[in-house]
Amino acid sequence: MSDLRELYQEVILDHHKRPRNFGPLAAANHNADGHNPLCGDRLTVHVDVADGVIRGVSFEGAGCAISRASASLMTDAVKGKSVAEAERLFEEFRQMVTSGVDQAVEESLGKLTVFCGVREFPSRVKCASLSWHTLHAALESKDTAVSTE
């Protein structure tokens, strides 16, 4: 049971039940849809970027606890950060849930390290990274759709 608790940490369950930054974003100037064909989950990420800084970010959609909590924690983590910082976090997050990261990167990821347990669940890596891929797509270009496949 111990590793299951590592996947579903309290922080994750909390963000799943009470997602932050959930809903439309009136000031959004970048949007993207994400789709995980494995489970049929879809989510939309809205971003308000000005002068290379993420002033506002939100997400909408339905998904499993991992994908919802990941989107919620992501929006908390990137709000107020520069686009470059957000992209760096995405890269570090991706590394953490696939191959693992060292202590320095863990410190940089901060609260996002609650997802380190996902690495032990290959079938759930896509759930955790869907929102990040979608954020990346939103930042790269306007109004596109991405898929985890």
């Binding site: 299951l4 996947l7 489970c39 606890a65």
Partner: protein, 436 residues
């Protein structure tokens, strides 16, 4: 009636009648199914997952294999392995005899008229694609129609969609009721002089609905329309008689029938398949080749290009032999009892909604839970040793129709037990604890 009963009280008479009824019921009741005995035939079930005994409830995805199937494959490779047909040595003769013997075993299993009507393929998907390619495409013209249903597995949907896109034909889709039953009135209405083929599932993999295939075939044949049935989810649960059904094509997979992966069956009426062009070119499907001309082989070799999955066919025959040794009526009754018991126990979960409530379902219980996403249910259950399937079950049009992105699905085989249902329900209570 004897003197005592004639003079006896009304109570005695009623009791006497009840005993009589019970005796009659007993005589017609199938012998109880010996689950403990069959479980011993499936060594994979005797293992621990995360320290807990495995509860395997993902049989509709693939079924486990009895020792006799594993041994048949192993013995073939240990003693008889050779390429089939045209070999002049003894091993090749033995391998050919075993492979063609497997075809005959499938013919008897389906009650087909001739063994040449049995084509070995990789699985149901390949069988449907073969018919789409060799039967439908050459015949389809713009505005012709193929009838499928909204509950089809993608394997019995996409090949027809592709055939339609290539030819300008149209796909007509039979709707379902909210309970998950085919709308037979709509089905009948869709059949018309433009319909070239009906392609429907015998049993729904996502809902467990058993479709009225005899009526489906009868109504189509009344208008001269041939019928393909996707039997992937039917053959593991019931005896199928293609002779009596009179369907034109019937497809199933070995691995869902307790046989190996990589082998499946297309049954097709010889009268139709004789006129169908070959699908793939290569060895075995030809009778002669010159630089100028290729002459094709006859059935079934015409549709079996290249060295087939010989061991797979032998394994499939062993699975059929295993099933023939079971009381299949008792096995089906056992599965039905498990399904009823699980649905009863789930009714104690107010946050659980069953998806698919057709009467007489075949061993499948699909559901959603308001407090937890199917994916999370699947992961938590796995850690309790319980294997189920979660997702869209390769039925995205159906999920769309039902308004859910995914479901959690329990699918039974005859080796499952009541205790396993209890284990599943306990694990589900744990899901609610975490997410509720």
């Amino acid at each position: 009636m004897n003197g005592h009963a004639a003079n006896g009280s009304a109570v005695e008479q009623v009791n006497g009648h009840a005993a009589e009824v019970a005796a009659v019921e007993q005589a017609f009741r199938p012998a109880p199914f010996n689950v403990a005995a069959v479980r011993r035939d499936f060594p994979i079930l005797q293992q621990q997952i995360y320290g807990k005994p495995l509860v395997y409830l993902d049989n509709a995805a693939t079924a486990q294999k009895p020792t006799s199937v594993i041994d048949a494959i192993s013995n073939y490779y240990l003693a008889d392995n050779a390429n089939i047909h045209r070999g002049v040595h003894l091993l090749s003769e033995r391998a050919t005899a075993a492979y063609e013997g497997a075809r005959e075993a499938v013919r008897r299993f389906l009650n087909a008229a001739e063994s040449r009507e049995i084509v070995f393929v990789r699985g149901t998907t390949e069988a449907v694609n073969l018919v789409a390619h060799s039967y439908a495409r050459p015949a389809l013209k713009p505005d012709d129609e193929i009838v499928v249903s909204v509950m089809e597995h993608h394997s019995n949907f996409v090949p027809w969609k592709m055939a339609c896109e290539a030819t300008g034909a149209r796909l007509r889709v039979v709707p379902i009721t909210d309970a998950g039953e085919l709308r037979m009135d709509e089905y009948e209405r869709l059949l018309c002089d433009r319909t070239r083929l009906v392609a429907l599932g015998h049993v729904s993999n996502a809902l467990g609905t058993v479709n009225p295939v005899a009526d489906i075939v009868r109504l189509a044949h009344a208008r001269g329309i041939p019928v393909l049935l996707d039997g992937a989810q039917a053959v593991p649960h019931m005896a199928v008689d293609v002779g009596a059904l009179d369907c034109d094509f019937y497809a199933f997979s070995g691995h869902k029938l307790f046989g190996p992966t990589g082998i499946g069956v297309l049954y097709g009426k010889a009268a139709l398949m004789d006129h169908m062009p070959p699908w793939q070119g290569g060895g075995d499907m030809i009778s002669s080749v010159t630089l100028e001309e290729v002459r094709y082989n006859t059935l079934p070799a015409k549709f079996e290009a290249g060295t087939p999955d010989i061991a797979g066919a032998i394994g499939l025959a062993a699975a059929i032999e295993y099933l023939n040794g079971l009381d299949r009526v008792a096995a089906a009754a056992h599965e039905a009892a498990l399904t009823r018991y699980l649905e009863e126990r789930l009714s104690g979960f107010p946050d659980v909604t069953l998806v698919g409530r057709a009467p007489g379902k075949a061993g499948i219980v699909s559901f959603v839970m308001s407090s937890a996403h199917p994916h999370d249910i699947g992961t938590v259950l796995d850690h309790e040793g319980v294997a189920i399937r979660t997702g869209h079950h390769c039925c995205q049009p159906l999920m769309h129709r039902l308004g859910v992105p995914a479901t959690a699905r329990v699918s039974f085989a005859f080796y499952n037990t009541r205790e396993e249902v209890d284990r599943f329900v306990d694990a589900l209570a744990r899901v609610r604890e975490m997410f509720g």
